[in-house]
């Protein structure tokens, strides 16, 4: 590619043809402010540069008007000035215009402190809002159990549309209307819950303001903890083990497992369990299901079912492929009913009094827990007073807020262990947090169960990393088991189209995670969650796997115990009652 030389603020800089002014300036050591621009939306090849906010405008010699640097390519000999008084005044006024149509209740706003609009106004020294006038006034949409939309905070940057339409190919959001009355809304102006939205929360991760946020359920948890009648248990998803620390100044990807347990005990939970434990249980059930399907000519390839965003996606867009989906519940939904049956029995606690809280990296988990069929414990005991298997789901962001509210100095907490019965998790469960992890964990167990031999090498490098679609194969007793892994629903769609066309018939197992990078990039994770954060959290996941003594699900002693004492065998009667589920074809009829 040819090179282009230009001058930015008096400095000569040479960059490849096609580079934007913004990137060229970066190379020259000049930082141009941006607001709406996003270099990577979840995955490296997805860019958002619609040029909506006009905060990145610069002057180019010979051009009468400003140009937006985030999406204007450099030209040979260009002379760019990034902070003349005219440019500075224009940036400020553009922000003032934005603020003049914004409900500025920052102190009580859910994004207070992590709001990009706040940050840019501070950075650009905006000190007044001269324009005044009509403000938009839309109702708040809290129809979804996962996501709350406050259109009054929307700055129409359209990042969410890119996340939903390009990254996830769900296309649930649209820019509707003209001029001042325009709004970003769910398609057709419906409440979000009535659209094809899969509740993945990728829109919330990229929204620079509080126009799209997770539903806050922290108060329900405070109340449950304070209720002396309730035995409140909490479970922590694999991805949270390497993320919660970020919010308290620890490097991204730091293993904070012990500190998180300590924090949860200080918050007042009666028992602290690990979703890693039920991830191991999932591997037992799902691994045996795969072996069963292969042996008995069942529907193949089998799809994983741990990601509720993905489950809603297949129900909406590929209902004809539902028979491929594993009937196993996700680890979250396995721990819930077991807490209200096996654990309740063992501890002699009335299951009605058990209150199950999850800490998840995911907004779709709230939706999953609210699915009507997720009341297996109630059916098991034939007791309508037991309602949900999982009572409340907190995202990572909400737990972080609770830790702050309680005034806990997280970074200096000592490490504490999980409670017994459902507290032991293996390395295999740990890697559930990253794309490819469920697959790798399943292979570690399936290989040993099928062949009766010990795996020579536990690490399946081929299914790791941020590539959209990954592939591996393993020889098990003469059968070559072929597997595929995809993360982000755009990549899932590519695979599903092939399955539908009958092109992937010789594959056995496909793992899909709705979020880029897997759960560590979930819609409930700390903001920002950029590609770099995702990569660093993934590193943390594999480091923790290496550190753990037991790295295969079937070797987890607490898993062996529950099969011995309660479930008897994978895919057995109780497993079917408590750990397996069915799906609902949805979508446009």
């Amino acid at each position: 590619m040819a090179n282009v030389t230009l001058t930015i603020d008096g400095q000569k800089v040479t960059v490849p043809e096609g580079t934007t002014i913004l990137k060229a300036a970066e190379k020259a050591g000049v930082k141009i402010p941006t607001l709406c621009f996003l270099e990577h939306v979840g995955l490296r090849h997805i860019k958002h540069d619609v040029g909506a906010c006009r905060v990145c405008v610069v002057e180019v010699e010979g051009k009468k008007d400003f140009v937006s640097s985030c999406n204007t390519p450099v030209e040979e000999g260009m002379v760019v000035r990034t902070h003349t008084p005219k440019v500075i005044a224009a940036r400020k006024l553009n922000l003032e215009m934005m603020l003049s149509d914004h409900h500025l209740d920052c102190p009580t706003c859910p994004k207070n402190g992590i709001c990009e609009l706040q940050a840019i106004c501070a950075e650009l020294n905006v000190r007044q809002i001269r324009p005044q006038g009509e403000k938009k006034d839309f109702p708040i949409d809290d129809s979804s159990p996962s996501i709350v939309r406050n259109p009054n905070k929307c700055i129409v940057c359209q990042r969410c549309i890119t996340a939903c339409k390009v990254l996830q190919t769900v296309d649930a959001l649209e820019l509707y209307g003209n001029g001042f009355d325009a709004v970003v809304r769910p398609k057709g102006g419906l409440p979000l819950i009535e659209t094809q939205c899969v509740a993945c929360g990728q829109c919330a991760l990229v929204c620079p303001t509080a126009a799209i946020v997770e539903k806050d359920d922290t108060w329900k948890v405070w109340e449950a903890i304070a209720d002396p009648k309730k035995h409140v248990v909490v479970q922590t998803a694999p991805a949270t083990h390497v993320t919660i620390g970020e919010a308290f100044g620890l490097p991204v990807g730091t293993d904070i497992t012990g500190k998180m347990v300590a924090a949860l005990k200080r918050l007042g939970f009666d028992a602290v369990f690990d979703t890693n434990w039920s991830a191991d249980l999932t591997i037992m059930e799902e691994g045996y299901e795969l072996i069963h399907r292969i042996k008995n000519g069942g529907v193949l390839p089998q799809f994983t079912s741990c990601s509720p965003g993905w489950i809603k996606f297949i129900e909406e867009f590929y209902p004809d492929l539902i028979p491929h989906v594993s009937t196993c519940k996700s680890p979250q939904q396995m721990l819930g009913p077991i807490a209200k049956t096996y654990y309740a029995e063992k501890k002699g606690i009335n299951p009605e009094d058990i209150f199950v809280v999850s800490v998840m990296p995911c907004t779709a988990k709230k939706y999953e827990a609210a699915r009507p069929e997720m009341n297996a414990a109630s059916k098991y005991w034939n007791n309508p007073n037991i309602t949900r298997d999982v009572d409340v789901v907190l995202t990572s962001r909400e737990l972080i807020r609770m830790i702050r509210e309680a005034g806990i100095d997280f970074a200096s907490l000592p490490d504490e262990p999980y409670d017994p019965i459902m507290g032991e998790g293996t390395g295999a469960a740990q890697i559930f947090g990253a794309t490819g992890g469920v697959m790798e964990a399943a292979l570690r167990t399936a290989y040993e169960v099928v062949t009766g031999k010990t795996l020579p090498k536990l690490d399946f490098e081929d299914v790791r990393g941020m590539k959209d679609i990954k592939e591996a194969s393993v020889n098990m007793n003469g059968v070559t088991v072929k597997v595929l892994v995809a993360h982000s629903l755009g990549a899932a769609r590519q695979l599903m189209d092939k399955v539908r066309a009958g092109e992937l018939k010789d594959y056995h197992f496909i793992e899909i995670m709705a979020c880029p990078g897997g759960c560590i990039g979930g819609g409930g994770q700390p903001i920002p969650t950029t590609v770099e954060e995702r990569e660093n959290r993934i590193k943390g996941i594999y480091e923790r796997d290496k550190k753990l003594k037991i790295r295969k699900s079937h070797e987890n002693p607490e898993i062996q115990a529950i099969y011995r004492e309660f479930l008897k065998e994978p895919l057995g009667h109780k497993s079917h009652q408590l750990l397996h589920t069915h799906y609902t074809p949805r979508g446009k009829k």
Partner: protein
Amino acid sequence: MAEIIEFFLDYAQQNSCAECIPCRIGTKRMQEIVKKIFDGSISDREVSLLYDFAEDIGASSKCDLGKMAGKAVKFALQYCKDDIDAHIKGSCGHSIPANPGWQAIMMK
């Protein structure tokens, strides 16, 4: 001239694709100020803000619709200030003769 810029701003608002801030919000704010020209309630501060708006919107909008709206106001303020002042005082100067066919042409 005041009527023409009012018309122009209405047109911009109705047709703005809403993608960029200066066109989406800026032309609305200009519209709100311009309306005050007619009842004379516009303040000196608002006249000067209108200048700033026109300058900024004309230069930093994403496409020609917003740019033109900004520039139309800018030129009107520059070249037809007498007419606008007359409006503010309540006596229309009509420094530019009304053309009954103009709206019809523009709206096609």
